[in-house]
Symmetry: C2
Subunit: 422 residues, 2 copies
C-alpha cells in the first residue's frame, strides 16, 4: 500500500520536510530543551533550516558543533604519532555535555566514506580508540535511551562522488539528494503521517518477534552460515522509542532512515561464519568482503579483501569488540535496498539489509536491562565494548530461521523477505 | 620607505600569505602546541589553509570551533527571554579549555557588523553579558598574555555588502579581499619580513612613549576634548608581545592588522568629552555618533544617534564598564585609514584611528601588573570589568598633547600624525 503518493514537491520543500522530520520524528524535541546539532561545515544550509524548526518547536537553545573532513584528514596525516591518543577537546566536550544534561542531539553525518584510505591504519585506530574512550559518558547514556537523539546523513559532494563516480560532482550531489529524499520519505506531501505509519508497522514487527522469544536465529545464504543465540527476555527494538532518565517518555527515532528491527545476541552463543554482503566504511576507510568466524560468541578469525588491517584493529579494541552486540533484520524489499544504490555509509546500508554489530549492546534490548548494573546485563548475555560497528550480511539470498524455546524451527525470512504477516 | 613593492601575486598566493602570517606572526605557534581556530562556517577554505600551515609549523593538534551568524541571529530572535542568560555551552568550553591548557588560539571574526540590528537591545545585552561572564577564565589569561592568541578578520559576504553596498555581493567580496590583503601586508612577496619591520617600528614607538612617562594625554579635535590621566609606571604596548605563564617567551601579535600603540589610562583620572569619529559595531549592532562625558574617570552621560540603548546597556554592565581600560594612538596615515574604507569592525577601524576602550585593562600595561594581585592593579589605576570595548576618536583633526611629569606639555600628535620621530 502506498501511504502518500510522491508528489511534485520542489527541492526546497523536500529539504523543509527533511528538517521537520529530523526535529519532530527524529529527536522528538520537547519544548524547552536544548538541542545540539553535530554537523559538517558543508551542511550549513540544512543546519540553519533545522535550527529554525527546532526554535519553532520550542527549543530553548540550539547549538551547532561543526566538523570538517579536511581537518580530520589533516590531523591524521600530519599530527605526531604520540599525540593521536589525545581526544579532540571540543568534540568530546560537546557530546559529554549533552549526556550530562540529557539534552536533545541531532547528528548529521556526511563524511566521505573513504576519507582516510591513505592513512596508516594504526594511526586511524589510535585516534578512533581515543575518541571512543573519551566519549564513554555519552555512549553510556545513549545505550540506555536516556537521551532523545537522532542520526541523519544528508548528502555531501565527496560522498556523492563515491556513490555516482561517473557523474559530475554537481550531478552526483543532485542524484544523491533525490535518492535520499525518497529513502527518508521527505518527498511526500505529509511526511509526518508517512513516518507515523512506518513506525507503527515497525512496532508491530518488533512486538511480534519479542513475543516469539526465539532462542536463536540462523542465517544462511550469500556465504553466511551463522547461528546467533538470543538471551531469555530479549526485547526487539525498531522505529521510535521512548527516553528513560530525567526526560523519560519522549518519543524519538534514533535513525532516519530506519527500516530495521534489532535485538540482543547472546555474547557467548554465536557460532559459524558471517560474510558481509556490502562494504563497510569504518573510521573513513572502506572494508570490503569481510568474512568473520565465530566460536562460542567470539571472533576467531577475520579477513577482508581491502581494509583488513583496520578490521583487525577494530576487533582488537577490547574483549567486547570480539563479540556481537546487535542482530538486526531488514527485508530486502526495503526502499533503500530497492534504490539499488550502495551508500558506503552504515546509516543507509544497514537499513538496506539484515546485519550484525560487534561491540556494545543496547541495554533496552533486554527486559529490565536499562535499570540493572552492567555486570548483571553481561551475565545475562549482554555485551559491552568501546565500539559498536554494524555490518551487513543480508541480501536477496539470505534465509533466516527462528529456533523456538522448545527447539522447533520456523522461517523468519525467506530469500531476504519476511516469512510472516503482522 | 616602501618595504617590499606590492607584487602581482594571485589571489591564492595572497591567501597563503595571509594564512602564514596568522600562524607565524599572529599566534607565533610553538612546535608541539595545540591550536584552536575559532571561525565562521563561511571561512572554511581559509581555516583549512591555516590548519595545514599550523601542522607544517609543528602543531600537535588543530581544532576548529565554528560559529554561524544565522544561528546567533536565530537564537536572539526565537529563544525564550529567560534562557538568554545561559551561555552557549560548546563555545564557552572551547575558550576556557584553551585558557586552562594555555594553548594557542586564532580567531577569525567575520560577523555581519549589523547582524542583530532588529533585536531588542535588552535581549542582546542579556546574552552578551552571560557570554562575557562565562568566558571570564579565558579573558583572565588573555589580559596577562598567558596565551599566544591572535584575531584576524577575513572578509565574508554579508560584511562586504555593508562596506560596499552599491556593488554586487561577489564584487563586494572581491573588493574587500583586495583591501584586506593590502591592509594585512599579505600582498607583498615577503610578508614575514614586512611584518618583522612593521613590528620593529611599533616597538620603537612604544619604547619612546614608555620612556616619556606622560602623566596625561590630552585629545582635542573632531568634537573630542578629553584629558586621559596615565598611572605612574605605565607601559605602552604595540606590535608583537611575549607570553607569560607556562609557555613564557613566545612572540605573538594579537591583532592582524595592528597599527596601534596603547597604554593604561588611570581609571579615576579621565575628564571631558569623547566624540566617536567612526561608528562602533558592538554585539552585532551598529552604534553611531557616540558622545560620552567623563568626570574623574567615570562616564556621567552617553548618547548616540543610533544604538543608544545598546550603548547604555553596555556601559551599565558593571562599575568597570563606566571607566577606561585602554587608550591607543594610531596615526591617520595608517594603511587602513588611507584605504578610505569604513569596515564597521573594531579590528580594522581601531587600527585606522586613535581610540579609547571602556572596561577591562591589560595587566601588562603597568610595570609588574601581570604578577600583582588584581586589587593592587586597581589601586594603582588599572580597571577591571566583564567587557572591553574600543571605539574610535582619532581623525585628521585630532591633536594629542602629552603632559610631562613636571607639568610641561609637548605635542604627541598634530592633526592625527606623530609629532616626534623614532
Amino acid at each position: 500500500m502506498t501511504l502518500t503518493a510522491p508528489s511534485k514537491l520542489t527541492f526546497q520543500q523536500k529539504l523543509e520536510n527533511y528538517a521537520e522530520l529530523a526535529i519532530k520524528i527524529g529527536v522528538g524535541l520537547k519544548p524547552g530543551q536544548r538541542l545540539l546539532i553535530g554537523a559538517d561545515v558543508e551542511n550549513a544550509e540544512l543546519v540553519r533550516l533545522v535550527a529554525q524548526k527546532a526554535y519553532d518547536a520550542g527549543a530553548r537553545l540550539v547549538e551547532a558543533h561543526w566538523e570538517d573532513d579536511f581537518l580530520t584528514l589533516a590531523r591524521l596525516k600530519n599530527a605526531p604519532e604520540e599525540s593521536l591518543t589525545e581526544a579532540v577537546h571540543v568534540q568530546t566536550f560537546a557530546l559529554n555535555d549533552v549526556a550530562e544534561h540529557e539534552d536533545a542531539v541531532l547528528w548529521m553525518r556526511s563524511t566521505d566514506p573513504d576519507l582516510l584510505k591513505d592513512i596508516d591504519p594504526s594511526r586511524v585506530n589510535k585516534a578512533q580508540t581515543a575518541m571512543m574512550k573519551a566519549r564513554a559518558p555519552y555512549y553510556g547514556k545513549v545505550m540506555v535511551n536516556a537521551l532523545n537523539w537522532c542520526i541523519i546523513a544528508p548528502p555531501s559532494k565527496a560522498w556523492a562522488q563515491r556513490i555516482f563516480p561517473h557523474l559530475s560532482p554537481d550531478e552526483a550531489l543532485e542524484q544523491m539528494w533525490d535518492a535520499s529524499f525518497k529513502i527518508v520519505r521527505a518527498d511526500v506531501e505529509n511526511p509526518l503521517e508517512a513516518w507515523a505509519q512506518h513506525n507503527a508497522r515497525l512496532r508491530k514487527v518488533r512486538e511480534y518477534l519479542t513475543q516469539k522469544q526465539y532462542s536463536a536465529l540462523e542465517f544462511k545464504g550469500g556465504g553466511t552460515d551463522l547461528s546467533v543465540g538470543l538471551p531469555e527476555k530479549h526485547v526487539w527494538g525498531g522505529g521510535s522509542h521512548h527516553t528513560t532518565g530525567n526526560n523519560a517518555g519522549l518519543e524519538f527515532t534514533a535513525n532516519i532512515p530506519t527500516e530495521e528491527v534489532w535485538t540482543l545476541p547472546h555474547r557467548e552463543r554465536v557460532n559459524g561464519v558471517a560474510r558481509a554482503s556490502k562494504p563497510l566504511s569504518y573510521s573513513g576507510v572502506l572494508i570490503t568482503d569481510i568474512e568473520v568466524h565465530f566460536e562460542d560468541g567470539r571472533i576467531v578469525s577475520a579477513k577482508a579483501s581491502k581494509g583488513q588491517e583496520v578490521l583487525e584493529q577494530m576487533i582488537a579494541t577490547d574483549e567486547g569488540s570480539h563479540r556481537l552486540g546487535e542482530v538486526a533484520l531488514v527485508p530486502h524489499s526495503s526502499p533503500i535496498s530497492q534504490s539499488g544504490l550502495l551508500f558506503y555509509n552504515t546509516l543507509y546500508d544497514e537499513n538496506a539489509a539484515s546485519h550484525i554489530a560487534i561491540g556494545r549492546a543496547y541495554r533496552h534490548n533486554l527486559e529490565g536491562g536499562v535499570e540493572m548494573p552492567l555486570e548483571d546485563f553481561v551475565t545475562l548475555g549482554g555485551n559491552d565494548s568501546l565500539v559498536h560497528v554494524d555490518w551487513m550480511i543480508g541480501s536477496s539470498e539470505i534465509d533466516v530461521t527462528g529456533v523456538l524455546p522448545g527447539g522447533s524451527r520456523e522461517a523468519v525470512m525467506v530469500k531476504g523477505e519476511w516469512a510472516f504477516k503482522v
